[in-house]
Symmetry: C2
Subunit: 358 residues, 2 copies
């Protein structure tokens, strides 16, 4: 087995604090299992704009393309959010790297840690047993279609657009996953209104024919947003477009009650990109408050999906599970029943998981 | 006070069963308060396609324009949903009447009936105190922008488009409502990605200046879908575009745990359009199972928003409240604690509310 080269892109806000612990997990696993992991670091987002004027500097992109996997933190800064006329934005870095690396499939497993059932706003009996794997398309849709503003600035548009091959390639990935999971796939669209959704549904119906062992359901996005709250257990693999996926996966992560615990993998035909679901959370940045577990779980996804190292991945999730079972919590996942002495900061929680790991 | 002419459009599935009871409420209120309400009926949706080939026959549109208010049921049929190539669809009738009547603002109050707190999948303590009024834009966005399919049928697009005046007019309505409610307005967009959202945010920021007494917040749609589950109480007035509103309002209705209890008002500069939030529910149509309360609550919205008859509207919601307090439920809102003898069908529940009304 050759060395694996990992690019760490900490990004903005709490990004650097949490990726530190993701990287530490990789180092530990490398040592324990005798894998050679090498590391480099690069800028993206607000920090990259500050340093170079560009949210995705050429150097970062070149390093990304040359790496075997990317461990990413978060990008974003409130300063741009409330300035609709800002031309350069941290998020552009993220969108561009997705496109440039061809990361067309974003996988988001919504796993429940039994210990955290109580942290959700949903009733435990509604939640228990939920295990969803989202496939969100990531390089098409209204995210990348042409954007226009009229000369008088009074009219704005974004083109929502999909081509057959874009739907096909992610649908195939989703069906392959469904086949080895619960054998159910729910494709979410708005085919009663949108032409892109009608193409989406046509293509999914075609691909479905090759997977007779998988039960296919088509659901409208408004209904899906509802069903996810009503009965999350009923979903297995959910396949959807970029914009709908953005909305549904965030909703689902809250349902799981543990935003700080969820990770995602963006894959395509080359280098994979692994990141927590949470954002840059500037309000708690630098205060040793951020939950490092999602970054550590991103590493578990990197090991499993990126490098095919299942045993190593399981080692990581087991260590996290143990820390939770023993009652350790960061502030975001603590509740009234948590032993106060077991509420840890970023560093102490990171350290704790490393201990369980070795 | 002159006579009010009401057009009833029952539509598909359970539409006819439930609008019957909405109309009965209007008749009763008319009698009790000495208002002259006159009625007519017209076709829309699947039933209209079957009868005339057109989901919105000219005759229906003409009657709609000539009426003072419209009481609508639902449209839709599974037969079209799974045929992405169908050219004529029931929903086209609904979209066309919205556009033709200039119904640019869809108001959806998410009210909780204390008796139904337990029906939600959310924990009662998360839910209690929730009182949200959505303003969903209804005649613009990707719903009405140009739709295209390439000649080889392999590429499809929908244009997401907004003009300044479209945002202004609904923003003003939403701020006016916020001013006399909780004085908080949350505008939901995706301004970190979409040009239409950046225009949306610019315009809302401008309008906000005229309402210094209202606290304005801007939130990204993915975050909003999450916050709505996490802490629905924090919202007062929510203002958003057509597509985002479609998704968020359905999610919110499930949070309230009572899809069968929620109604919406679509208004513009002319005739108002009042309907339950639930759909055509063909699976239970004609079985005396549908919940008639949302149609009756649509009538309460018609009385209050359409005709300015607040006292009459309150009479209707009070009657429904009393029926619930006395333990009566339709199947969809019954739970394990419901006295089985008080689970009623459509007709018995409709009759019960009429009794409490007089
Ligand atoms: C930051 C933003 C552009 C991004 C998206 O909308 O894709 C984020 O919300 C995500 O889900 O990764
Ligand atoms: C039936 C459909 C076209 C409609 C919409 O998307 O607007 C419905 O979901 C609604 O919310 O009224």
């Amino acid at each position: 087995r050759g060395a694996k080269h990992i690019l760490v892109i900490p990004g903005d806000g709490i990004g650097p604090e949490v990726t530190t612990w993701g990287k530490a997990v990789l180092e530990q696993i490398g040592k324990d299992f005798g894998h050679e992991f090498t590391f480099d670091e690069a800028l993206m987002g607000h920090v990259a704009i500050e340093a170079t004027g560009n949210p995705l500097p050429d150097e970062t992109l070149a390093k990304a393309k040359a790496s075997d996997a990317i461990l990413f933190g978060a990008v974003g800064h409130a300063k741009y959010d409330n300035d609709p006329s800002a031309k350069v934005r941290p998020e552009q870095g993220l969108l561009k790297i997705r496109k440039e690396l061809g990361l067309y499939a974003n996988l988001r497993p919504i796993m429940l840690f039994d210990e955290l059932l109580e942290a959700s706003s949903l009733k435990p009996e509604i939640l228990k047993g939920t295990d969803i794997l989202f496939f969100r398309e990531l390089t098409g849709d209204v995210y990348f279609g042409e954007k226009k503003r009229s000369e008088d600035r009074n009219t704005a548009s974004d083109l929502m657009i999909y081509s057959r091959y874009e739907v096909e390639r992610i649908a195939i990935k989703a069906y392959e996953a469904a086949r080895v999971r619960g054998k159910k796939l729910c494709s979410v669209d708005k085919a009663n209104v949108l032409e892109t959704s009608r193409l989406w549904r046509e293509v999914v119906q075609e691909i479905a024919k090759n997977y007779p062992d998988v039960e296919t359901e088509h659901m409208f996005i408004d209904n899906a947003a509802m069903q996810l709250v009503k009965n999350p257990k009923k979903f297995d693999v959910v396949l959807t477009a970029n914009l709908f996926g953005d909305i549904l996966t965030d909703e689902a992560s809250q349902i799981a009650g543990s935003m700080g615990m969820l990770a995602s993998a963006s894959i395509g035909d080359g280098t994979g990109f692994f990141e927590p679901i949470h954002g840059s959370a500037h309000d708690i940045a630098g205060q040793d408050k951020a939950n490092p577990l999602a970054s550590m779980l991103s590493v578990a996804l990197m090991l499993e999906i990126g490098f095919g190292l299942k045993e190593e991945a399981k080692k990581v999730t087991d260590a996290i599970d143990k820390a939770l079972k023993d009652g350790y919590r960061t502030g975001d996942i603590a509740d009234s029943k948590t032993d106060k002495s077991k509420i840890l900061g970023t560093k102490a929680m990171g350290q704790k998981v490393l201990e369980y790991l070795s």
